[in-house]
Every structure is written in structure tokens, then in C-alpha cells.
Amino acid sequence: MNDYIRPGHGSGGKLMHELIHDIFFRHFGHHELKKGSDSALLQSNGHRLAFTTDSFVVNPLFFPGGDIGKLAVCGTVNDLAVCGAIPQYLSAGFILEEGFSIAELEKIVISMAREAKNSGVNIVTGDTKVVHKGMADKLFINTSGIGYIPEYAGSFANNRKIKKGDVLIINGTLGDHAIAVLSEREDLPFQSTIKSDCACLNHLIHSLLEKKLHIKFMRDLTRGGLATCLNEIAQAQAIDIEINETRIPVKASVEGICETLGFDPLYLANEGKVVIIVSAEDASEVIETLKADDLGKESTIIGKVTSENGKKVIAESAIGGKRLLQMRTGEQLPRIC
């Protein structure tokens, strides 16, 4: 059963991590790659750079709150920003299916251009490939990005020591992206006003770094959702984390759809959310700074670091019970039981 690519290999959870470790890390082997962080932090001729890549394959291409083009810019900008880099340059690689509408392509490109402008990055190099009808699903976009590490973010990028008692902050509600995209698909017949949270977070993050707040770690949530992200953090930083489920912001309609389909919002995809670890004493100033930005209005503390030597993520439920929160194992499938 292991020999074929399955949807779970791309869903940001455990299967994907195994594939990445067993195949990519093993053969490519570079230490920056193996860190598995959002961007590689590099030296180029004495200069410090962040470099990252992502491909975008979302279906449908247009969804409430965004489209694949906006996503492609935000995803890469965010991966640079959470590493403390100032995003500067993006590449854009298009794979187009024969028969795809050029008018739709233009809409997507305009959306990319707008988002790039808003976030202050330039798309400086590109590529276009066309595949025959049926050989791709309309259009895929790859963006890669380069940023530089400013002086004041230097120590952040080197990872401050995370301590017991440090708190975890998130800048808003979970799962809006996943549900907005799902409800737009014909095969999931929900109608809602839920919009994708898709957004470039670099200005929000920049406002923290500029104030020289003691940010200890940041990661943007994407495919695997909060639970997978926290597990990645716990493992990479060798810490135990405990979150309080009642404090995790989830929209009522998102929660409802999740209960209907048997999904867990903690594992739903997001595209404009970042988890930030700060010391407890800095938390209120961080939240205040975040709340000053539209993208951080609902920022809140969701949990804390409970051990400096661990790798577990624990969730405390509404009634005080506790459970181990693991990585997502495969693509979440709608179910009846």
C-alpha cells in the first residue's frame, strides 16, 4: 500500500512528513532543507538570504476571499516573513492546461500583481509551460521567493531560546480557508459566507519585528492546520506545548460544517494565520501590536510552552479533559461516522 502516491502524501500531515524525510531529505541532504523550516536561511557571498518555494494546486481556482493567484503570492511571502526576512522578489512558474481560458488566466495574474504590490514584493522572473488537455487541472502556479534578513531580525532568525511558560499566540480564526474552498466545490454542497483568510502577513509580522518585541518563533499555518503546525514546532524546538481548546478561535459556521463532515478544525488549512511564541511578559504588547493591524484583530493567546525538553502537544478540552494532539495522518475525508 506504500508504493503509490496517495492524497495524504500532500496533505501536510504525517504521510507527507514521511515522504519528505525518506525521499527528499535523504537524497538532497542539505542542512537547511532538513531543518524543514518555512524558508531556507542562506549565505550568498557573505550576504544573508531567505529562500522558499511553494506550488499551488487549489481547486476551485476562485473561491470566496481569494484565488490561486493571491494564494500563490501570500503563501511564499508568508514563508519568508515568518523567518524574519523582508520578502523582496518572487518568481512565478505557470503550468497551464490546454483549453484553459486566457481571460481567467489574466484575472489570476492581475490578482497576483495586486497582492504583490500590496505586500511590497516584485515578481521578477517567470516561466510558462502548457500541457495537453487532461494532463493538468486547469492551472498550477509555483512561486519561489527571496528575502533579506534585516539587522533587527537577525537574532530572531537565529532562534531565541524558547522557555517554559512562553505563550503561543494566533492572529485569528482557524479553518476559514479550507471551508471557503470546500464550500465552493460542487461536490461539497454547502453555502456559506465564510471567506478564505488568505493574506500576506509580512507587514503584520514586520510591525512586531520593528518594535523589537521578543518574538521567539513564528510559523504560518497552511495545509496541515494548527495541530500539524504545533507538532512541527514541538518536534523541531524540542518543547512540550499545551493549548486550551476553548481559547482557539473558530467561526461558528466553520465549526458546524466540521461537525457535519467529521472534520476537526485543528487540522483545517489556513492561509493567513501565524503562530507566534513569545515570553509571557511580552504577550500583551505583542497582542496589542497585532490587534492594531486588520489581519490581527482577533489575536489571542491559545496556549503555552509546558516543557523545554519534550515534543508533545496537549489539548485541554472545554471541560478540562486533556488529550494528545497528533499530526494529521492523511487528507481529511467527509464521513458519516
Binding site: M1, R6, S317, A318, I319, G321, K322, T329, P334, I336
Partner: protein, 364 residues
């Protein structure tokens, strides 16, 4: 009132927990037969809040876990036919058959599509008259009425390319079989959503003949805690009656309309249960009159011989004789990514529930 968060109240649950701690005198073993209960119990961390003398066992309440392997093998055989679309709830996608799974067959090119309802499968059939649509009808009494509606609608609209492959199972025969097998329990947390259809009378036999307390429970923490408290009380007072904790959804008589349509479309038959062997009158199949919608009757197919699981103790777990931690494969040879047995596949299978929501005691 939206009937969800009100039942997740921390203060009220603390009151119930205190009461349970206070009332629990001896040792108690209760079985939740519904996978939804298993999930909720783990998700809300209920074991970490109960006194250690109360033990909760997971029963055969995940329709996916109890589905016989030969059923999956049959579905896979159908998936491999050309011009055929398998419509299934997501639950079945990753269940290992003897040598493959529906997910893998889809990856290999079969047309397998996930639906949220039996009516969606029927709609596909109406939109693609050139194809044969086989709906994998799984689930207990809760789900079977929906399949029945789809068959009635297909019949009304004279749809000729819609078929069901039924694995609809009945709950009471399995609950009896568990006790007959000698599993030692002190009461049943009875399945709330099954009971919305069936009503409470189906458990009368169990309470009376087997002298087991039965409480029909809802799925929120307050529901479950209240149910556990009621069971403790019954045991303490040596009662064994059927109580309805989930009164907001369960009528003593259930849902007569749903029961009627089930009766119209289906008849009972003996059936294999994964890990539990044959249980008499425990499965619903289409009655004579609706044969033309029965995939097995209408579409001949060669099914590969079933290969039995190696090392999987799913069956004993379903019977409540063992817990997932007793399985040598648990967590190493068998994980949600690469499940060996069915209990690891479903989100509410006992093994996956354990794997995902491991209780605090096991964590620290």
C-alpha cells in the same frame, strides 16, 4: 439554544464529575458501543476526569470497523469494472481489503467518488445514464433509512443504473453477542443516534434478560457524564433498566416514518462482523421486491479470495475483551497512515481514537 455548546459547560460538567467521584464505590466497566461516543470521550479527555475505578470500553460501534473484509474486497472488485462508479462515504476509502483499498484503486484509475448522502449517489446515476453507480450502503439503523429513501426515489424515477451494495448492520444483535461472548461489563452507554430511529425498546431485552443497565446517551460531555452517573447509580442500586439521557432527540418509539421505510425496503439476514464472526439477523439487505437495485444480484463480479488479518486483534477490541494497547501492532505496524486493521482506519475506530486522543494518563 443551539443544543451543542450548552452541553460543553465546564462548571456543570465539574458538578457531574464530582458527583461521579462521590457515587463511584466499587469497580465499574461500561461499554460505549457507538464510535461517536468513543470519539467524544477521547476528544474531551473524559477518561482523565473520571475516577480510575470507572473503565470505559469501546464496543463495535463503528460501522466501518465491523464491516467484513469480503465486503471491501467486493467493493474493490466492482471498482475495477469499467463503466462503473463507486459512490461511497469517505469512511470506507482507506479500509484495507485483502490486497488493496478503495483509495488505492482510485489512485490506480478506478472511478471512486465520495458522497455525503445516498441521494447524491442517486443524482450521479441520473446524470450519467451510461455508467453503473454502485452506492456502498454502510451504517447502522441511523443511516439505513437514507439508503431506503434513495431506493424508493430510484424506483419512482425509474432509474436503472443505480445499485446499492449493502452492509447496513443492526446494533442490538451485536450488543447481545458481546455479552454472549462473555465480555464482562456492568452497563451499556447506548448509541444515541441509532436510538433516534429505533427508539428505546430495542434495548429492553438486554436490560431484562442480561440484567445490564442501559442508558441512551447524547454526544456532548454533559450527556456522557450524566449517562455515566446514571449507570453508576443503576449499578449501585442493582437496577437494570433502559434510561434515555438523550431525551431531546430520542423518543421511546423512535422515528416511526424511518422505521416504516426501512421495513419496506430491507429485510434482515445473518451476517459476518469483522472480528466477531457470524451474528444472526444482524444485517439489512434489499428485500425481494427491490432486487433490481441490489448490486450483488444484478452485477456479477469476481471477488478475490479474502486474506485474513495477521496479528490484528480488532475483533477482540470490538468485543471489549482487549484494548488497542494490547495489540502488538498498535502504533508501529499499524498507524492511521498505514492501517492494518479496520479499527485504525476510521476516525472513530477504537484504535484510531486511542491513537489520536490518547488519554492524559497515557501521555504523562
Amino acid at each position: 439554544m443551539k443544543y451543542v455548546h450548552e452541553y460543553r459547560n465546564k462548571e456543570l460538567s465539574q458538578k457531574l464529575i464530582n458527583k461521579i467521584h462521590h457515587s463511584a464505590k466499587g469497580k465499574y466497566t461500561f461499554m460505549e458501543v457507538c464510535g461517536g461516543h468513543t470519539m467524544a470521550i477521547q476528544k474531551f479527555g473524559i477518561p482523565s476526569l473520571l475516577p480510575p475505578k470507572i473503565k470505559l470500553l469501546s464496543g463495535p460501534g463503528c460501522p466501518v470497523c465491523v464491516t467484513e473484509k469480503s465486503y471491501i474486497d467486493t467493493a474493490i472488485a466492482y471498482a475495477r469494472l469499467s463503466n462503473t462508479i463507486i459512490a461511497t462515504f469517505g469512511d470506507l476509502m482507506r479500509i484495507p481489503g485483502s490486497t488493496s483499498s478503495l483509495e488505492l484503486e482510485k489512485a490506480r484509475g478506478s472511478d471512486v467518488t465520495i458522497v455525503l448522502s445516498a441521494l447524491e449517489a442517486l443524482k450521479i446515476a441520473q446524470n450519467k445514464p451510461d455508467k453503473k453507480i454502485i452506492f456502498l450502503a454502510i451504517g447502522f439503523e441511523t443511516t439505513a433509512p437514507g439508503s431506503a429513501v434513495a431506493v424508493v426515489q430510484a424506483s419512482k424515477a425509474r432509474v436503472k443504473n443505480f445499485f446499492i451494495l449493502s452492509a447496513h448492520k443492526l446494533m442490538p444483535p451485536a450488543m447481545k453477542a458481546i455479552v454472549d461472548e462473555g465480555v464482562k461489563i456492568d452497563g451499556y452507554i447506548c448509541p444515541g443516534h441509532v436510538s433516534t430511529i429505533t427508539g428505546s425498546a430495542i434495548y429492553d431485552d438486554i436490560a431484562r434478560k442480561y440484567s445490564l443497565p442501559c442508558v441512551i446517551s447524547g454526544f456532548e460531555p454533559l450527556d456522557l457524564l450524566q449517562t455515566i452517573l446514571a449507570l453508576v447509580h443503576q449499578v449501585n442500586e442493582k437496577h437494570s433498566t433502559v434510561e434515555i439521557q438523550y431525551a431531546r432527540a430520542v423518543q421511546p418509539n423512535g422515528n416511526p416514518k424511518a422505521k416504516a421505510i426501512m421495513k419496506q425496503i430491507f429485510c434482515e439476514t445473518d451476517s459476518e462482523w469483522r472480528g466477531m464472526g457470524n451474528i444472526p439477523k444482524s444485517k439489512l439487505v434489499l428485500s425481494e421486491k427491490y432486487q433490481q437495485y441490489d448490486a450483488e444480484k444484478m452485477i456479477p463480479v469476481d471477488v478475490e479470495p479474502t486474506i485474513s488479518d495477521k496479528g490484528c486483534i480488532c475483533g477482540e477490541i470490538l468485543k471489549g475483551l482487549k484494548t488497542p494497547l494490547d495489540c502488538k501492532l498498535f502504533g508501529s505496524g499499524c498507524t492511521p497512515e498505514n492501517p492494518e486493521g479496520a479499527c485504525m482506519v476510521s476516525g472513530e475506530g477504537a484504535c484510531q481514537a486511542y491513537y489520536r486522543y490518547q488519554s492524559q494518563t497515557e501521555i504523562t
